[in-house]
Symmetry: C2
Subunit: 350 residues, 2 copies
């Protein structure tokens, strides 16, 4: 079954998604009767194109690899008309919009506007963008429901490692009372290196920057803002809360010293930047802060840039999932997983 | 939506399931439009009853708690006719049969016969019984498909901790190349106690027996037969193999000494009884044996009676799930999870 998809944003995640779709074309058709057709792509820096008959992914890659703009898809003498993303979302006949633009955690824009436009034009939305999910989940989800559409966000927490689909399918009927996780790979890498290699904070941060885990300005990671966005999403999507980022108590890892990390280790503990949210009566309480975990805690063993998350449930006790928290292919996969979930539904409707 | 269910077997798992259905009646109706009606129960030791209008769970519990037989549900002067399980499966108008009898890992009977009868009478089957799943999965699954029915087995591995539903929903589209797990809580408890409390094997086994983790005859656990059954199920259901238990190389934990455990710890390793299965070309190779894991392995931190399992995938790398591996409520929940998965499907059909 052909499924028409448009990509708004074509950076690392978009490339990861397209590579998977190209590499797995035959398997996806065989296993899921799923034949993706990319009908439109729009990227702030790389240009845009709308081709109702479908964009050839290999030709697009060749173009991008040569540093050419997307509207030169048909050759430089045959430039396609530039279309702004909002018009493209409305005009293209995609069934699913993959919203893959950059995260702005303060405003959620321009992504939130793109998502609203898509849902109002009758198109499902999948995204790994934390901004809209952290700031406007309820509004966007209710807009999707009203239009009988899906708004899916697997990649916003722990990239493609299943979190929301684990909750939807694997914990159905159980009540999640508390969620506790290591949701930021950069800080976990830094803390791991401080312990295993005896580095001080500055040296571990420098190493994280050299390895590409931390940005030149590491504030969003080391001060806990990235983890705050993710814990807000978990609070609102899984625990049914209505939190905003400013409702979360936040403390980063910049005050942790090598001496503190070493002393904790000698006592049989390990520092982790923990994002935690729990039901407290009718309220949801969320916090991001460094915690000294006993080594017996499933989260204590999570080292390097890995992520992990523990659901505390009434019927199953604690269930922990551990896996990648970032990466081109891993996050690209999160988009595919959400598209395949929608594909199952489309297959039943047609 | 009313869903009619029959229980074949009413021991610990059946009791766990019924307690959840009773305790969560209102939530299950609200959240999933799911109203279970138990129309028949048959237990080898406790008797049987068939009531098309539905069995009152509280009255049944009162009866069982007084040590009375199930056919005395209407009072001792009003004994219902005893019906053998095969006839009951055929005669009752349940949509779903919960097959909850004891595991016979050598023959898979009588459970396999019950399951075939159910599938041939047009009834979905959910089970936590490892016998039929380890010995006859392909045959039973193809019988189910032929009759447009479900045969679901979440509880056969790691009780209610999501394994098959995680694979179905959370890893859709990714290829699992290898599975590696701690699938037997008894041996993991014993090995944990040998390390943390410095016990020798015999003392740790005795403690496991006192705590109810190990049986009087611990062979099935400590010699690895239980883990073999589970790794066969994973091989056949997830990797698409056609293994039999005798195809799995097997070594138990009885040859491990306190000295070996201590020496491993000093080198930064930990012994675990690991069940492992992987694709090797067109073949599936499975083994159960004690392995010395580095402490950085996500499975190394799994202590006590907990279970855990790592999927090694092409698109996501390693994804590890950790949780309970046994328990009345946990395994009862596995049956509910499978029933709710079928309920989603029934809801769409009706």
């Amino acid at each position: 079954m052909e499924v028409k998809i448009a990509l708004i944003g074509c950076g690392t995640v978009g490339r990861g998604l397209l590579e998977i779709l190209e590499d797995k074309r035959a398997q996806l058709k065989d296993a899921f009767d799923f034949e993706p057709k990319i009908v439109a792509i729009s990227d702030l820096h790389k240009g845009s194109i709308l081709i109702p008959d479908g964009i050839k992914i290999k030709r697009l890659f060749a173009l991008l690899d040569e540093g050419k703009r997307i509207e030169h898809y048909y050759g430089e003498g045959n430039t396609a008309e530039l279309i702004n993303p909002l018009d493209m979302i409305e005009q293209c006949d995609a069934e699913i919009i993959a919203e893959l633009t950059y995260t702005d955690i303060k405003t959620g824009e321009p992504a939130t506007g793109y998502i609203k436009k898509a849902l109002r034009s009758g198109k499902h939305v999948v995204t790994s963008n934390k901004g809209p999910a952290a700031l406007h989940y309820k509004e966007l989800q209710s807009l999707a429901r009203k239009n009988n559409l899906f708004f899916r966000i697997e990649g916003t927490v722990m990239s493609g490692t299943p979190v929301f689909s684990l909750f939807e399918c694997g914990l159905t009927g159980a009540e999640v009372r508390e969620i506790m996780g290591i949701l930021n790979g950069t800080t976990n890498f830094i803390l791991s290196k401080m312990e295993t290699d005896g580095l001080d904070y500055a040296a571990a941060l420098k190493l994280a920057q050299e390895r590409g885990y931390a940005e030149a300005d590491p504030t969003a990671d080391v001060e806990g803002y990235d983890a705050v966005a993710k814990v807000v999403i978990l609070s609102n999507v899984i625990l049914g809360g209505a939190l905003k980022p400013e409702d979360v108590k936040r403390e980063g890892i910049t005050a942790l010293t090598r001496e503190m990390v070493t002393a904790a280790k000698e006592e049989g503990f390990r520092y982790k930047l923990i994002a935690q949210t729990r039901k407290a009566g009718a309220k949801i309480e969320a916090v991001v802060s460094p915690q000294k975990l006993p080594l017996t805690d499933p989260l204590a063993g999570v080292m390097g840039a890995q992520n992990a998350l523990t659901f505390d449930t009434d019927l199953l006790g604690k269930v922990t999932i551990q896996g990648a928290g970032a990466g081109k292919t891993e996050t690209g996969y999160s988009i595919l997983a959400d598209i395949l979930a929608i594909n199952r539904h489309l297959g039943k409707k047609r």
